[in-house]
């Protein structure tokens, strides 16, 4: 055997698993198809989208908020070429960081497509066709996911685009049509809305970000409407056609009514992502997919005893930090440890502005469980900190058990929600009661005061500043 562990895929699941394995003294290799490490997250996902979100937010502030702050500048112009260039720099710095971490941890990086020969042997085929063979005692599959196309309108990467292309546009779309009002559609839709595009979102379900607490979707719709975004909720897309200079989308209300036709210059299809296992040779080791995903047990072990799978290729939320936890989980298991993951407490985040973040159960889930619960909400509008920064859109909603006051869910929409949700995770990992958090000192003035106030509201409907 060349290696104790071979990790296939270098996204946040794969590279974290590799580092943890190396820390635990295993001889580790990582295989990456692309020339840069980091997978979707670093190259065409989380990091570049955040780079553009921040640029667009600065532009938006310069356009609309500087004057109020007392900063008079000539009307700014969005330079998309520079934005994309800066984004590329951010991506490069991050992926170089991963390369450094691999070197530091003495992890061998093999570039090429990894494919099973048998359960211990992986053939790595480089872009130039040159193949090498590696053997490993344990294999971790971390090949991630790809954007799902519409069945009737595959990505042409020119007018009908996925998130990957949306991060590389050379011009600001005049009218961007977004199919799917989930996390990715809302993030990228809001980027372009802020730098001047007209953005129309078509969503099949009746709310935006439908997997999150319904209050979040409603609030997000309100906030993004202010950016000029338009929404067609409850609409089923029937056709998307590239007409050369423009793209035409047809949709009809799912509950009946007149069909609509929307014309734009780009159509971003963000209806979800699907596990990516092509070329992996799973048939060689007898693994069959279950609705595209690799079936695993509670220990993330596949039916082949030395092969594990983590991240987007297995069940659960497709989130970088979920994949990271699973990477650590598998690595520690291989070292004989007994780590835990509480999947309920993996937070979900939407990087729009205002941001949306949540952890635990949604109100809808609690209703379904027939759980006796109570809610406490507190608006950003009532926060001194939010007044100062003019980030008045937002609300914190805390759900707690009716009898024990234990926090069952924390849902935040507002400035810095993504950072704030960690407090909810800590509280819930320790099974804190709403009153516990309400009795902890929160620095003033901060956005986090809204969490404390929402907990006071949940405890006994006694927020101080409302």
């Amino acid at each position: 055997m060349n290696y104790n562990v071979i990790v296939i895929g270098s996204g946040p699941g794969g590279y974290v698993a590799a580092i943890r394995c190396a820390q635990l003294g295993m001889k580790t290799a990582i295989i990456e198809k692309y020339s840069t490490l980091g997978g979707t997250c670093l190259n065409v996902g989380c990091i570049p989208s955040k780079a553009l979100l921040d640029s667009s937010e600065h532009f938006h502030n310069a356009m609309h908020n500087f004057k109020e702050h007392g900063i008079d500048i000539p009307e700014p112009k969005a330079n998309i070429t520079q934005m994309i260039k800066r984004k590329a720099g951010v991506v490069k710095a991050n992926v170089d960081g991963i390369a450094f971490l691999m070197k530091k941890n003495k992890i061998d990086v093999h570039t090429g497509v990894g494919s099973f020969v048998d359960k211990n042997t992986i053939r790595v085929t480089a872009a130039d066709g040159k193949a090498t063979t590696l053997t490993g005692e344990k294999i971790i599959i971390a090949t991630g996911s790809k954007p799902t196309p519409l069945p009737f309108a595959p990505f042409d990467k020119k007018r009908i685009i996925s998130s990957t292309e949306a991060l590389e546009l050379q011009e600001i779309p005049k009218h961007l049509i977004v199919v799917g009002g989930g996390v990715i559609g809302m993030e990228l839709g809001s980027v372009y809305a802020r730098i001047g595009s007209k953005v129309t979102v078509v969503e099949f379900l009746d709310s935006l970000i439908p997997t999150m607490d319904s209050t979040m979707g409603k609030e997000l719709q309100k906030a993004t409407k202010k950016l000029g975004m338009e929404f067609y909720l409850g609409h089923k897309v029937t056709a998307v056609e590239n007409k050369g200079a423009e793209v035409v989308l047809k949709a009809e209300p799912k509950n009946g009514g007149a069909a609509i036709e929307i014309k734009g210059d780009y159509c971003l299809v963000s209806i979800g992502r699907r596990p990516y296992t092509e070329g992996l040779g799973l048939d060689k080791i007898g693994i069959e997919l279950d609705r595209g995903k690799i079936p695993v047990d509670d220990h993330l072990r596949t039916k082949v005893d030395n092969v594990f799978a983590i991240g987007d290729v297995v069940r659960g939320a497709m989130l970088a930090h979920k994949a990271e936890e699973e990477g650590v989980f598998v690595a520690e298991q291989l070292a004989g440890q007994k780590p835990h993951i509480n999947h309920l407490l993996i937070p979900g985040v939407v990087y729009t502005w205002p941001e949306v973040a949540s952890v635990g159960y949604t109100e809808e889930q609690l209703k379904e469980q027939k759980r006796a619960y109570k809610t406490g909400s507190f608006p950003y509008r009532a926060l001194g900190r939010a007044r100062a920064s003019m980030d008045l859109d937002g609300v914190v909603k805390v759900l707690a058990d009716q009898a024990t006051d234990e926090i069952l869910g924390v849902h935040i929409i507002g400035a810095r929600a993504a950072d704030m949700i960690a407090a909810g995770v800590v509280a819930m990992e320790y099974r804190a009661a709403a009153e516990d958090v309400a009795r902890m000192s929160h620095a003033h003035p901060t956005y986090m005061e809204a969490v404390k106030e929402a907990c006071l509201a949940a405890t006994a409907n006694r927020p101080i500043h409302m």
């Binding site: 835990h340 469980q369 024990t404 234990e406 099974r431």
Partner: protein
């Protein structure tokens, strides 16, 4: 509702009884199980109790002779007052759902008599929590006696109310817990990975008690300890990382002793101490060993055995033996066999004292001392004198394995007429074993060491084992004990004698 009270069947040959006395008057309010009348038969007097609470109406007067089965009175239930005394208010009792109904009866569970010599037990682990719904015969706790661990099954369906917490030592008959008897089963709680339903929490206890923090949960799992074996010191009884780090796999509660004051000069090396509560087993061992020293006239005689003949025989046939019998040929079977022959020759060594009498045993039940993680246990090979070598070997393996796993039953450790202990496995050269009462003697085996010995006027090197026989001089004379040990030596040095019985 009125309940007719009939003369119960009180004995086979009794056909009629006389109403000797009414203890309650017509119209009195009576409580359930209260004695309301005295009845007389030709053989005995007995009491009649009220089958339910209510108002008494008498049909047959004092002095009347009535046949068995006659209705002599009626008790009319009058809801209010009577119900109060017998039915606990349901509002104070947490119920999990409507499909389960508390009957109001309380089943008290007491420590059962588990064995002749066992007087107390320790609750080692509660498998069910306070307020849990338990089913009849479901195992709710593990209880440890000085001899064995056994499981405690629920004696009724209902809600568990724990009286004796973990690590509590109770005498036989001591109250362990109560079960609020219920009819029907609670509906399955909603599947909620982090939070059990509030109703399961007893008043005053945090819902989060026993919740392990993420790091603590990992540590506990790695130690193989469940969260309910650890007492959380965090807020609301949460288990902190420190709690998990300190938790002992055997679930023995550890109390850190105050570290020396800062004024103590610093010396290299840790000086922490640890205090652990003695287990029932350890306490019993301690008490018994001291008692033996005090209550017997114990002394030890020694001898040595040239093990070469046994070793030669063993190495010659061990493969065939294993093939034929499926068990390895060890020294234990030789020793057990030799001891059985010698015990027949010197029955006093196999005897015991019972008050003013000496009990001679015509059988050889040989106790084998086995070291286990919980302490020393002594399972018994029954009728060893009639077992073949292979039967002895497989019995030794079976008992030793069960001992190591803590699965020996009390029966398997009770009795025994003579003991063998082998300190040789730990490298002991010579020792004076302590008698296992009420037995009168114990043979100590030791390690086999090559020593120069004189044979036929020449110094030769032979594998030698020292043997020690501790015995109770009250019933075994020096002649018998020494001769017994010499006999064992002879049999082992010339195993052919075992066959011939010479």
């Amino acid at each position: 509702m009125a309940h007719e009270v009939k003369i119960p069947t009180v004995g086979e040959s009794i056909t009629e009884v006389t109403i000797a006395n009414w203890l309650k008057k017509e119209g009195d309010t009576v409580k359930m199980d209260e004695v309301i009348a005295e009845l007389e038969s030709d053989k005995a007097t007995f009491e009649l109790t009220a089958p339910q609470a209510g108002t008494l109406r008498i049909f047959k007067q004092k002095g009347e002779v009535v046949p068995i089965g006659t209705t002599i009175c009626e008790i009319a239930a009058d809801g209010g007052t009577a119900a109060k005394s017998t039915t606990p208010s349901t509002t104070t009792t947490p119920t999990k759902s409507n499909s389960m109904k508390l009957t109001g009866a309380i089943k008290e569970m007491k420590v059962p008599a588990v064995g002749e010599s066992i007087t107390e037990v320790t609750i080692s682990t509660w498998l069910k929590k306070e307020g849990d719904y338990v089913k009849l015969d479901e195992v709710i706790a593990e209880v440890e006696s000085d001899k064995a661990t056994f499981e405690l099954p629920a004696e009724a369906n209902g809600i568990l109310r724990i009286i004796a917490t973990e690590k509590t030592t109770l005498p036989i008959g001591g109250l362990i817990c109560k079960i609020e008897v219920a009819e029907g089963e609670p509906a399955a709680a909603a599947p909620t990975p982090t939070a059990p339903p509030a109703a399961a929490t007893a008043a005053g206890t945090s819902y989060a008690a026993g919740h392990a923090s993420p790091a603590a949960a990992k540590i506990l799992d790695e130690k193989g300890i469940t969260a309910n074996q650890v007492t959380g010191t965090g807020v609301g009884g949460r288990i902190t990382k420190e709690d998990a780090t300190k938790a002992q796999p055997a679930a023995k509660e550890t109390k850190p002793v105050a570290t020396p004051a800062a004024a103590v000069p610093v010396v290299p090396g840790a000086r922490t101490e640890r205090r652990e509560k003695m287990t029932s087993l350890r306490k019993t061992i301690a008490r018994r060993l001291v008692a033996v020293k005090n209550e017997t006239a114990m002394l030890t005689t020694f001898n040595e055995v040239d093990m070469k003949p046994v070793m030669d025989l063993r190495s010659k046939y061990k493969d065939q033996f294993k093939e034929k019998h499926g068990v390895g040929l060890g020294f234990m079977s030789f020793f057990t066999k030799a001891i059985c022959v010698a015990l027949k020759d010197f029955p006093a060594v196999n005897a015991s004292i019972d008050k003013d009498e000496i009990v001679y045993h015509d059988y050889c039940d040989i106790s084998i001392a086995v070291s286990t993680p919980r302490g020393l246990v002594v399972p018994v090979i029954r009728n060893a004198e009639s077992l073949s070598m292979a039967q002895i070997e497989s019995e030794v393996v079976r008992l030793a394995t069960k001992g190591r796993d803590g699965k020996l039953t009390i029966e398997e450790m009770t009795g025994g007429t003579f003991s063998i202990t082998n300190g040789g496995v730990f490298g002991s050269m010579l020792s004076t074993p302590i008698i296992n009462p009420p037995q009168s003697a114990i043979l100590g085996m030791h390690n086999i060491v090559e020593r120069p010995v004189a044979k036929n006027g020449e110094v030769v090197v032979r594998p030698i084992m020292y043997l020690a026989l501790s015995y109770d001089h009250r019933i075994i004379d020096g002649r018998e004990s020494v001769s017994f040990l010499v006999r064992v030596k002879e049999l082992l040095e010339d195993p052919g004698r075992l066959i011939l019985g010479v």
